[in-house]
């Protein structure tokens, strides 16, 4: 795809009026350095060879594009599930961590830091570090550490050090602040491995490129499975937005493909208990990026709410803010209850227990009208193992 796309980042690190690198001077040399080398590394033959081989033999790609027949019948259309839940470690996160770890190695970095909310990105980072024999420190909000004990144990078993973020609301945004503070204090040997299409440029672009494998596969798989040249819809959930960015990437300039991102509206868009950033947020700067975010009238960043720990980020990747601004993508939202209903529906119709995040994407089926011959691709970003406690509580199993 051409780098000149109007939906892609420009030479100043902006997606339209979003993005950029709003960082303190302490981080400037690190960001400048990464900006200088990341494209050359990603485009190099050596990187591509190693990355593609790890994706195939370690992650288990390509992930299937599965025609969900019973679900399709119910909604009177053709629903194809992009099965990122079948990846090693159970979600799309590993596509990014395997890629960034190779970039870190090319840059000669010895120590990896990461932030995590529910722990999925933390586990994927710890996994990649174990694979490469690199030191790994994961920052996680104190509140999340208590809520996500199995993932904390997985990270520790993988050899990572899990550090509690004790400031602010003690959740994902505070873990991100802690990781940035660590990077400020360790500018020489440390690589910050961000888990979504957020943060200062070049992170949103770098992560989108590493997740772009999702849409690269969808593009050829849809031709293989159908007599169509392209899918009519690609639907993905969005918190920070990395699985959505990856699912959309190769279709951005093909306007025949309708792109739909589903935010988590928690108890309802205007309930005050929501993570629907596009619906409820306004323009600001969070973690180095200008984008829509949830904030008070005084510009203090507020804590979002969603039943899904992977979607309750108070900002949204600048690429998605731009896709919304340009109307290239449609942004809708699903509540906790709608996501839970969709999770149960997929499980009982198709025998697939999805992650709560992915269930928000599935909820789009009940909210939109599709034609009988449409090819509707929904990205199942992760599997539901980590959410069993919630499912047990909510469904009474």
């Amino acid at each position: 795809m051409s780098d000149k796309s109007k939906y892609q980042v420009d030479e100043n690190g902006m997606y339209g009026r979003f993005g950029g690198a709003f960082i303190p001077e302490m981080l400037q040399p690190n960001i400048d350095n990464l900006k200088k080398v990341y494209l050359d590394i990603i485009n190099s033959e050596a990187f591509q060879k190693e990355y593609k081989s790890l994706l195939k033999d370690y992650v288990g790609r390509p992930s299937p594009l599965y025609l969900a027949k019973r679900l399709s019948e119910k909604y009177g259309t053709n629903v194809y599930l992009k099965r990122e839940d079948l990846n090693h470690t159970g979600a799309h996160k590993i596509n990014n961590t395997v890629g960034q770890i190779l970039i870190a190695k090319h840059m000669g970095k010895e120590r990896i830091i990461a932030e995590t909310g529910a722990g999925q990105h933390g586990v994927a980072t710890a996994t990649a570090c174990a694979l490469m024999g690199l030191k790994c420190v994961v920052y996680m909000g104190e509140v999340d550490i208590k809520r996500q004990a199995p993932n904390v144990a997985r990270m520790k078993m993988l050899g990572a050090e899990v550090k509690a973020a004790q400031s602010g609301s003690k959740t994902l945004k505070d873990a991100t602040n802690e990781a940035m503070r660590d990077w400020i204090c360790n500018p020489e040997d440390t690589f910050y491995l961000i888990g979504s299409v957020v943060g200062p440029h070049p992170y949103p672009d770098m992560v989108a490129r590493l997740q772009a494998i999702i849409s690269e596969e969808i593009a050829w798989q849809i031709k293989e499975k159908t007599d169509k040249e392209y899918p009519d819809y690609v639907i993905a959930c969005v918190g920070g937005g990395s699985n959505a960015a990856g699912s959309f990437y190769h279709f951005l300039d093909d306007e025949r493909v309708k792109l739909v991102a589903v935010e988590a509206s928690g108890m309802g868009v205007s309930s005050g208990e929501t993570a629907a950033t596009i619906a409820m947020g306004d323009l600001g700067v969070i973690h180095g990026s200008k984008t829509f975010l949830m904030q008070s009238d005084d510009g203090q960043i507020t804590e979002p709410y969603s039943i899904s720990a992977g979607l309750d980020y108070p900002g949204i990747g600048p690429i998605h803010a731009h896709l919304h601004d340009t109307k290239r993508a449609t942004i809708i939202s699903a509540t906790d209850q709608e996501a839970l209903d969709s999770a149960l529906e997929l499980t009982q119709l198709e025998g697939i227990i999805p992650a709560l995040e992915s269930s928000h994407a599935l909820a789009a089926l009940g909210k939109m009208k599709f034609k009988p011959d449409d090819a509707v691709v929904i990205t199942i970003s992760g599997r539901g193992d980590k959410d069993m406690e919630t499912y047990m509580n909510r469904f009474g199993f």
């Binding site: 960082i23 303190p24 400037q28 400031s167 505070d174 204090c185 500018p187 700067v285 969070i286 005084d298």
Partner: protein
């Protein structure tokens, strides 16, 4: 010429203190300012608290959290300091993160700074290019100095660029750290100060981060026009509150160079 430029022209060994507005109690902002002035402080950085202060260590994070809890906001701060020029002669620099200022409206913010007599602004996460592109003219027209940070990792070329676009002072961060990290200045840090001093910059420097006592203050003053004490002073406020006597003792204890 604003108060910052005048001070730096006239004085050496500038003692500067940072504290968070609305801390430890909401209405402590003016009493602390007045106590600092009475104790002989030359310049104050007044912190505008933010929910996500990613360049700050635990002490200033906590003070920001408490100040927000107390109800502090930019709007409230401008109300508190609207008449400060009746009693305060020291240059006042507002320091904080970009998002609350952006939300307030940068133009409205700069206009309000001018109106109440603020002399400078430090917004660590407003990058140089963005400032240069969008806001430099606005700041300069209002005679408000935008203060940039430099660190041991900042390349010489960039320091020169920052120097050419500064008109108050350059905030020389002493080490790769967040605020309130370890105290003391190593040979490596002194070498960095020397490297910067040899660049022939036109903007004076004030050193911050890791300055917490008389020893570090005195050393820093040998390499710059002065130094900033932040976390150590916020710690004092946490312990003693806006108490005039302890603030006086604290400032004199660091600043007074007559007793050797």
């Amino acid at each position: 010429m604003n108060r910052i430029q005048k001070l730096l022209q006239e004085k050496k060994d500038i003692f500067s203190a940072y504290f968070t507005a609305g801390y430890p109690h909401l209405e402590d902002t003016m009493p602390v300012l007045e106590a600092l002035q009475e104790a002989g402080t030359d310049l104050v950085e007044l912190g505008m608290p933010f929910s996500d202060p990613l360049a700050d260590g635990p002490t200033i994070q906590k003070s920001s959290e408490d100040a927000l809890e107390n109800g502090m906001s930019i709007k409230k701060l401008f109300e508190q300091i609207k008449d400060m020029r009746k009693t305060i002669d020291m240059p006042i620099v507002l320091m904080g993160y970009f998002n609350p200022v952006f939300k307030y409206g940068v133009e409205a913010f700069v206009a309000k700074c001018k109106e109440v007599g603020v002399d400078g602004v430090i917004l660590p996460d407003l990058p140089f290019d963005e400032y240069n592109d969008k806001y430099q003219q606005l700041f300069e027209d209002a005679n408000i100095s935008n203060i940039f940070l430099i660190t041991p990792q900042t390349p010489d070329e960039r320091i020169k660029l920052i120097d050419a676009n500064s008109n108050g002072f350059i905030y020389m961060v002493s080490s790769a750290a967040v605020t309130g990290a370890k105290s003391g200045l190593s040979d490596q840090q002194l070498a960095y100060f020397n490297r910067v001093n040899n660049l022939g910059l036109s903007t004076p420097r004030i050193i911050g981060f890791g300055i917490s006592n008389k020893e570090t203050f005195t050393t820093a003053c040998k390499y710059a026009s002065g130094a900033i004490v932040g976390s150590a002073f916020v710690k004092l406020l946490a312990e003693k509150g806006a108490d005039k006597v302890s603030i006086n003792d604290f400032v004199k204890g660091i600043k007074d160079t007559s007793e050797k």
